[in-house]
Every structure is written in C-alpha cells, then in structure tokens.
Assembly symmetry: C2
Homo-oligomer: 289 residues x 2
C-alpha cells in the first residue's frame, strides 16, 4: 500500500500550501472533483502532473448543484478508496472540506452563471450550474492554482466554467481533457455504479449513437437535423428509458445547429433506469472525442 | 505640478504589477473608486499608505450598478483632475479600464449578492448591489491585493462586500474607514457637485438628523422607533424633498431595530432636488461616526 497524499480540510490550510508553492516558482494544477474517483479523474491528475509541478485534487460533494429530487444523499462518498486510488500518482494535497467549511451559517452569495448555462442541463436541472459556478469560483479562491483540469464528458459545464472565469477575470487557465471510456465505449462516470448489469448494457446506446453520427459526419453528412434523428433512433433502439436531449450545438454558445458548417458538439442526456447519464463528442473539421 | 501616478488600462497589466509587488514581499492595498475623487477617497489612499507598501487606486464608473433611470450618463468623469488630486499622495498605479475591458461582448456572469443586499438600497435601487459585487469581485481578481479600502459612508455596500468576500472565499481583507465630512457636516460624495447652493443647505438635514439621534442615544434613549421619528422630523424640517428610508439597523444583518440593546447603525437615503444622498452613523456602546 502506497502512502496517501496529505488531506487538508480548511480553506486557509490549502491556500497557504498553494501560495507557498507558487511563491517558490512552482506551477500549480488543481483537479476539482466530487470524489468517487475513476479513470477519468486519474487522467486529469496525470494531465496536471504533465503540465504542472504541484497537483492538488479537491474532493467535495457540492450540495448546491443538486436539485431537491436529485441524488445528493446517495451520491457515492468513498474518501478512503479515493485516497487509495490517488496513492499511485503524484498528488501533493487533497482538499476535502466539510460542508460547514464551504457553506457556513449565513452563506448567501452565489454566482449567477453565464448565458450558456440556460440551455440543456440548465433546463433539465434548474439551479445546477448556479451551484457549479459558485463552488468552482470558491474552490479557485481557496486553491489559487495556475491551471484547473476538467473532463470533456461534462462539456456544457466546461463551457460554462470557462466563460465564468473569463467574465469574472479569475486568473486561472481552464484545461479540458478527453473523455475516458470503458473498453466498450461507456463514458466513465461516478454515477455508473448505480447501473444494474442490464442497465449497464442499455447505457451503451449513448456512446453508440455518438459514434454513429461521428462516422456519418466524417462521411460528409452535413444535415444536423438528420443526424439528430439518427441519434434519437439509436438511443431508442438501444433501450434508454427517457431522453432529456440529443442535440448538435455550436461549441461555444451551445445553440442548436441545423447544419454542420464548422466545429460542432453532439450532446446527449438520457435516463437508464433511475440513472441520468450524459455524453458528448466533437464533430466537424477538428473532430476528436 | 507633481508627476501623475502611472495609469494602467488592462487587467493583465495591473495584475502583473500587483503580483510582482507581492512576490517581492510587499503588502498591496487597493482603493476601488468611480473617480470624481474627493477628500473621502484621499483618506482611503492615506489609510492604504499607512497599512500597505503599495497602493493601487481603481477608477471605473461601473455601468452595471446604475439603474436605467439613474445618473450613469451624467456621473462626473474627471480623470485628469483625479490624477492631479492623487499626485500629492503615494499611489503606485491607477487602474482605469475601459468599459470594453471590464464588460466585453458576451459578458453574462454576475455575482448574486448576499441577503443584506435585499434591504434598503437593494429595494430603492433594484440591481444596484448585483452590479457592485460583480464589479468588486472582478476588480479583486484583476488587482489581487492584500487589503481593500472602502468608506463608511456607503455602509450597506461595505456590509454586502464583506459578506460576498467571506462567502466566496476571496483572499482579501476589507477595511472600512470613517466617513469624511465637509466642515458643516455634509458627508463627502461625488454626487455633491449636483447640488445647487440652495440644495446644498437643505442637504445638511441628513448629517444634522444623524447628529441629533447620536446625541439622544448617548443620553440614554433606547427606543429606536422614537429615534427614527426624530430623524424623519429633522429631515422634513430641513427641507429634503423625499425620504427613501431613515432607519436604525443591526450593523451586520441590516435588519431594522425597535430597541437599542447593542451596536446599531442609523441609515438615511433622501432626495434633495434631483440628487439622491445617503449618510449613516454608528450608535450604541462603541459609538463612532
């Protein structure tokens, strides 16, 4: 068993640690997570290790980004296993605050997210992005790193955070790294543990439908309406229980496209059993997953 | 004529300057202003000079904190005179961004202010504090100083900013310095230039009514309802044209008090001619203006 990375619970302690590293001329990367770490998170740690001298992982299941009927209570909390998983990697500190440290009594200031937060998950999960940008801004103040690493799987989140950081002049670079997938294509997610073996099979419809339209786009299909229909048909044939959205959007504004004339992103949110899954892929000229 | 302090127009330039000073171990103070500098602002510069090694003054007439019917267009913009006024003091840089630098196309992220912003000026000036905390957070990211200096005259603003900084973990100390007054008692304000000589006389009703209840409180009056009535009567006798509020509140929550049992703050907002004026004073045990 390797040694655990040091765990820090207070804002003051993690900030001091980061400021000292930066004062010593070291580049600091931060990987914000809600724990329940999987290979996707580990790839973000590896990216930070490549680009920075010091890596901080934050683990905080942020209550303000869950809706009242969502899975905050049952979201997996696996700190010991998370520390084990990080033990094989270079992590200089884990910041794992309690709720009371992040949201003390009387807390009442929020960040109102940018326009791109009003679409898609912003419609399906009211208040979700307000909670996300609020906690991410707080984490960036507590952990004043040079760069922060997020996964492409949460594509809308990455667009919203990038714009928030730009609008509010937060001095941090946002790096978005490729989605990590299971061998059969399922995008890594902490919520995959909710899936029964049978649901796990049906969940493959998301990556399968994205892979299909990626190929069609590469073969020259430019009609986004037709591509959307193919995504929906594939999701339904694969047996997902409900589709929140399956769309093709502008990579920056997230506005739905009817024609592929440049870079685009296909976004899916769908329910399999009681589990809501999301996935996406890039389409068009600089197509990459 | 003394030399002007250097004027910097971009976020990148001022941030670099501040980061270099801090890396060299120097304590940095920032004085955020909307220009039209008067003796109150100068006292903030002097406070920063006393407590810090480097002082940055920001000058930006922030459009997002003005209502559609307010005085954004006519608010005094006097950069040359402001620089002259600062020339006799130790100011290491003036950050004077253009609107396009602070609010580029597509800007759409705001800070939703804390609870204390819902009262008083929050009622009279809808959206005002949202604009204030948004621009102040942006300025604190652009000018990552150790301490920021604000005037007690904008008392509710200081409470709102202090809470925003605490809630969002912004690593800056908020210092609130005493209100500076004209010899006859009028609180210094950039908006005083709007007053005609006759209005200027009537405007004294604000400080006079505060001074009166301060004396009554010192003499032992604990009935805040009665003190409020005396404030209103004094304002009306002095000829103000409209009272937005005249109240006595808890210093932290800004909730109205009916009895003085501890520290309290008397707050006034009133119109004289076309000009809206605010003033306040502390009451109770640790009474100071």
């Amino acid at each position: 068993m390797s040694a655990h990375p040091p765990v820090v619970h207070t804002v003051d302690a993690i900030r001091t640690l980061v400021m000292q590293a930066r004062a010593a001329g070291r580049r600091v990367g931060v990987v914000p997570t809600m724990g329940a770490l999987h290979a996707g998170h580990v790839s973000l740690v590896e990216a930070s290790n490549r680009e920075c001298d010091v890596t901080v992982v934050t683990i905080f299941v942020n209550p303000t980004q869950f809706g009242p009927k969502e899975d905050f209570a049952k979201y997996p909390r696996t700190l010991e296993a998370d520390l084990e998983r990080l033990a094989g990697h270079r992590v200089d500190a884990v910041f794992a605050p309690l709720n009371e440290e992040m949201y003390p009594a009387g807390f009442s200031t929020y960040v109102e997210p940018p326009q791109a937060a009003a679409l898609w998950d912003g419609v399906c999960r009211p208040g979700h992005f307000r909670g996300v940008v609020t906690v991410v801004l707080k984490l960036f103040q507590a952990v004043p790193a040079d760069a922060a690493f997020f996964g492409h799987k949460d594509y809308q989140q990455s667009v919203v955070i990038r714009r928030m950081v730009q609008d509010l002049n937060v001095p941090i670079e946002i790096r978005v790294m490729p989605t990590v997938r299971e061998p059969d294509g399922l995008a890594m997610s902490s919520r995959n543990v909710y899936l029964s073996p049978e649901e796990r099979q049906r969940a493959l419809a998301l990556s399968r439908s994205l892979h299909l339209i990626e190929q069609l786009a590469e073969q020259g299909e430019r009609d986004a309406v037709s591509l959307r229909q193919r995504m929906v048909a594939t999701l339904e044939a694969g047996g997902v229980d409900r589709i929140d959205y399956a769309t093709i959007v502008d990579p920056e504004t997230l506005v739905e496209l009817n024609e592929l004339t440049g870079p685009a992103v296909a976004l899916i949110a769908a329910h399999v059993g009681g589990t809501r899954l999301i996935d996406n892929c890039r389409l068009g000229p600089s197509s990459r997953k």
